[in-house]
């Protein structure tokens, strides 16, 4: 057990980040495409969480707290980069070269198709959709984004509609 408050804070931070690293990774990948930008943004999020963690009083779940910070950092990052994020290197993982690579590649393509479709959503729908995909309910999404629950419902409905259309177009293009 860490003896001093700073070590305890770091242990808590590491536990929090480790438990939610996949969600954070997906959120970052939804906003930023270049792997380098993604790494920078991940580091910024980790620092922001570090700074904010001592003030966290448990008024929402840790995941909501984390995603709220990550969401804000992502938006700030986009603003500071004037929306000119690189389109290069948009794949999350390199192509699999193992046996059954074709099956896995197809599944990966479907998953990545979802990521690409989320990325193509307008920002006001994208931020709602990716939080919904992370399993947050309306109340939690409203806490993260800072809008009312009814607004969340309306935006999510439109986001789903648009996402469905984008995925259908992609599916048709593939076959």
């Amino acid at each position: 057990v860490p003896a001093d408050p700073q070590s305890a804070l770091e242990a808590r931070l590491q536990r929090l980040l480790s438990a939610n690293q996949a969600a954070l990774r997906r959120m970052v990948a939804s906003y930023v495409r270049s792997p380098e930008d993604q790494k920078d943004l991940q580091q910024e999020i980790a620092l922001a969480v570090w700074r904010s963690l001592p003030g966290f009083r448990g008024d929402c779940s840790e995941k909501t707290f984390l995603l709220r910070i990550a969401h804000n950092r992502c938006l700030t990052f986009l603003q500071s980069h004037k929306w000119s994020v690189s389109l290069e290197g948009s794949r999350l993982d390199p192509q699999d070269r193992q046996p059954h690579a074709e099956d896995r590649a197809l599944r990966e393509e479907e998953k990545e198709g979802l990521l690409q479709a989320v990325r193509d959503l307008p920002l006001i729908y994208r931020e709602i959709m990716l939080l919904a995909l992370e399993g947050l309910d309306y109340r939690e999404i409203s806490e993260v984004v800072g809008i009312s629950e009814s607004n969340v419902g309306a935006r999510l409905s439109r986001a789903r509609q648009q996402l469905r259309q984008v995925l259908e177009v992609r599916r048709e293009q593939r076959y």
Partner: protein, 206 residues
Amino acid sequence: VSKDIELEQWRLSWSQMDEAAYDFAEPKWTVAFKAGLAAQSRRRLWGMLAPVMTTAVIGGYLLLRATRSASWLNIASAIEGGLFIGVVWTGCLWLARATWKPLSESTAAFLDLAIRRAKANLATARLGLSLLSGQLVVGTLIEWIASHSSQHIFTYVTSSPFVVWQWAAIPTYVLWLFWYGRRHRNNLQRLFELRRQLLGRTGPLS
């Protein structure tokens, strides 16, 4: 497909998307930062060998010379040398206090340690200038009184090549100090900025 099943399917695909996630567990720079400081600690321990050896060699030589030939010059040099070594060690150990290891394993503690070390390095270099100047003045005076008191002090310090070379060490040291100070002040600024970003803290060290 009902709307909720559709959303659940998306969630499932979404959650499986990134199995090889980037390691958020500890930012890589903090790992590298801590490793760098740990390596610096090891170098500092090895670096202690040089002053220990210098102390042993110079102190031993002065002591041996005084016991073999108890002239006024040899005894005075041994006493002065011993005092000088004592002052150097006291000063260096005083400045090096709380710079040997972090107070905890947290990154903030490592950062504080790096700042303490950078400050101690600057103070040690400034102390070095005072000690070098003092040693040259006192050493020259002892040498002049013991062996060259018939000469005017000014004639002595300008006639002996050895003494002139000794005095030339001071501007060289000042130039080095300027370069060294600039490097460490830049490093200190970088560390302060890092601490401000990391902890939002600009005040004195904890």
